[in-house]
């Protein structure tokens, strides 16, 4: 069973990476860029048929390791 997870910085946390990427893009001529923020993306493949159980495990993975919840939010998607 496959999942994807996105981890993004919370709104009020500074995103130095996104900021520089944004500046660079503007310098490259993309003037109508309002904002870009950078996060992480995980593709997860579980050896688990029970989708409820699998999703619970993915949530646990996010809470315990993949995201630092003090500064980051995460979102789990079930892959088709």
């Amino acid at each position: 069973m496959k999942f994807s997870v996105t981890v993004t910085l919370k709104k009020d946390v500074l995103d130095p990476q996104g900021k520089i990427v944004g500046q660079t893009l503007k310098n490259m001529g993309i003037k109508n860029l309002n904002q870009i923020r950078q996060g992480k993306f995980f593709e997860i493949d579980m050896d688990e048929k029970d989708s409820i159980k699998a999703e619970k495990q993915v949530k646990e993975m996010c809470e315990k390791l993949l995201a630092n919840q003090i500064i980051e939010d995460f979102k789990i998607n079930k892959a088709e």
């Binding site: 500074l14 130095p16 990476q17 520089i20 390791l65 993949l66 630092n68 003090i70 500064i71």
Partner: protein
């Protein structure tokens, strides 16, 4: 005085800090991360380096290791803990210190000698320095851009929990003297009890006259007090 240096796969300043400690007559032990018990020590050092390659978030994976639960217990009981560079990142990831260390604002690894100003010497780690003394130390990191919320920042500022701030020769603390984008030029922070210190600069790189100035010595000397 007894010290323990915790070693993770990818640590690379463990030997350096051990040498500094031994130079000052600490009885030091190196503790491999898989161990489950910590010898009784007056000081626990979490050294710099790239534990687990800095993968995911620097310090995140080391923070899950066996020995860290021992370190956390010791810290809660009041043991002195010093996290340098990657060690600071680990102490943040395991919750002993609050806030976050983000990518440097220039998005580049920075390694150079910088200046920091001692904000207060009213603690176990800096009592051999004078307040407002300017120290030359070395930094070498990708993620040293300290960030925290307003409330915690006020707490830090109001309770002398920020021992070091980046500055210039004249002691100016401002954006121009900030190497990595750290909020309020913060280079090091304490927990509320001031028994746990996390700092980005490497004091152990400034203790040997043949190599450099010796501004780092004071920190180790303070700890012996």
């Amino acid at each position: 005085m007894k010290s323990s240096v915790i070693v993770f796969p990818g640590s690379n300043c463990d030997r350096d800090v051990a040498i500094a400690l031994e130079k000052l007559q600490f009885k030091n032990s190196m503790i491999w991360h898989k161990e489950t018990e910590l010898p009784k020590s007056d000081l626990i050092v979490v050294p710099g380096g790239f534990s687990y390659g800095d993968y995911l978030r620097s310090g995140a994976i080391a923070a899950k290791s066996n020995i860290l639960s021992e370190v956390i217990n010791a810290g809660k009981k009041g043991a002195l803990i010093l996290g340098i560079c990657n060690g600071f990142q680990i102490l943040i990831e395991c919750g002993l210190l609050k806030g976050a260390l983000l990518r440097n604002s220039g998005l580049k690894f920075i390694s150079k000698n910088i200046l920091v100003k001692v904000q207060s010497n009213n603690n176990k780690f800096f009592n051999k320095y004078k307040t407002n003394e300017i120290l030359k130390l070395n930094i070498a990191h990708n993620e040293g851009n300290y960030f925290t919320d307003k409330k915690h920042l006020e707490e830090l500022e109001n309770n002398e929990l920020i021992p070091l701030k980046y500055c210039d020769e004249k002691g100016n603390i401002n954006l121009k003297t900030n190497p990595n984008g750290s909020i309020n030029n913060i280079a090091a922070i304490f927990n509320n009890n001031k028994n746990i210190l996390g700092m980005m600069p490497h004091p152990e790189r400034m203790v040997d006259k043949i190599l450099s100035e010796e501004d780092g010595l004071g920190l180790f000397l303070s700890l012996m007090n």
